[in-house]
């Protein structure tokens, strides 16, 4: 019983640090609020969908960045999608890097795009790792009373 409480505390702390360190924003809380008995794994399901969607978009962007001359409209369009899905799950840092990339598309700055894309990928990888660790720990801890939450 005590071990279980400890696990729940750890999960809560891990969750809080994701917000404190700026990886997640309030949109993630929205997802949590949509999770209930009729939809018990909603958050993890949406995040998993996000990983699949992102993998596809990253591959497309990488390919587009290999073409010369760079098609900024196409790049911007892909990144618009990536920014959209990142913001839908509350991925704050990823979203910010996506915005920066789009800014470089707007000004036709190819080098800027290529450079920023590395940041996008890095932030995405970090977010993914942290979320995977979080969900794994949450699963270990098991279901709990979700009456109170705070960010």
């Amino acid at each position: 019983m005590e071990r279980n409480n400890q696990l729940h505390r750890q999960v809560a702390l891990m969750r809080q640090s994701l917000f404190d360190q700026g990886y997640l924003d309030e949109q993630f809380v929205q997802l949590e609020e949509l999770q209930d008995d009729t939809n018990p794994n909603f958050v993890e399901e949406v995040v998993t969908l996000y990983y699949r969607d992102s993998a596809r978009l990253v591959a497309s962007i990488e390919q587009a960045l290999d073409n010369r001359p760079l098609d900024f409209n196409r790049l911007d369009s892909y990144m618009h999608q990536f920014k959209g899905s990142s913001s839908s799950i509350g991925g704050r840092k990823v979203k910010a890097e996506c915005s920066q990339f789009r800014e470089y598309c707007r000004t036709g700055n190819g080098e800027g795009c290529i450079r920023t894309f590395q940041q996008v990928k890095r932030e995405y990888a970090t977010l993914r790792k942290k979320l995977e660790a979080y969900f794994q720990l949450a699963r270990q801890a098991g279901p709990r009373d979700t009456a109170s939450r705070s960010t």
């Binding site: 939809n39 618009h80 959209g84």
Partner: protein
């Protein structure tokens, strides 16, 4: 009915509408959605559509649904641009939601 080419934001939208007790039909492509709407127009109370990424010009979609079918359309846009918002209302949108959508 929810229309959005971005599957992640579509999933969130579906969950929100269901939480508000709506039954939801979903489409990633506006052209498919329109076919269904035309055939079953009396079955749908409202349409929530994304502005970008739906395989059709969203303003055309708006005009068609509003004038031809008379179903209220709410538009979801990631852009906070006043021009975008004004255009959408002008073409028949009943309301605009800023993405990411909150419940």
């Amino acid at each position: 009915m929810a229309i959005d080419g971005n599957l992640v934001s579509l999933s969130v939208l579906i969950a929100m509408l269901r939480k508000c007790m709506y039954g939801v039909s979903t489409y990633a492509k506006a052209t498919e959605a329109l076919q269904v709407l035309r055939r079953y127009k009396y079955d749908f109370d409202i349409v929530v559509a994304a502005m970008v990424g739906i395989d059709m010009d969203s303003l055309d979609l708006l005009k068609i649904i509003d004038s031809e079918l008379g179903i209220p359309v709410i538009v979801a846009s990631a852009s906070g641009d006043q021009q975008v918002i004004t255009k959408a209302i002008f073409h028949g949108a009943r309301d605009i939601l800023k993405k990411p959508v909150r419940i």
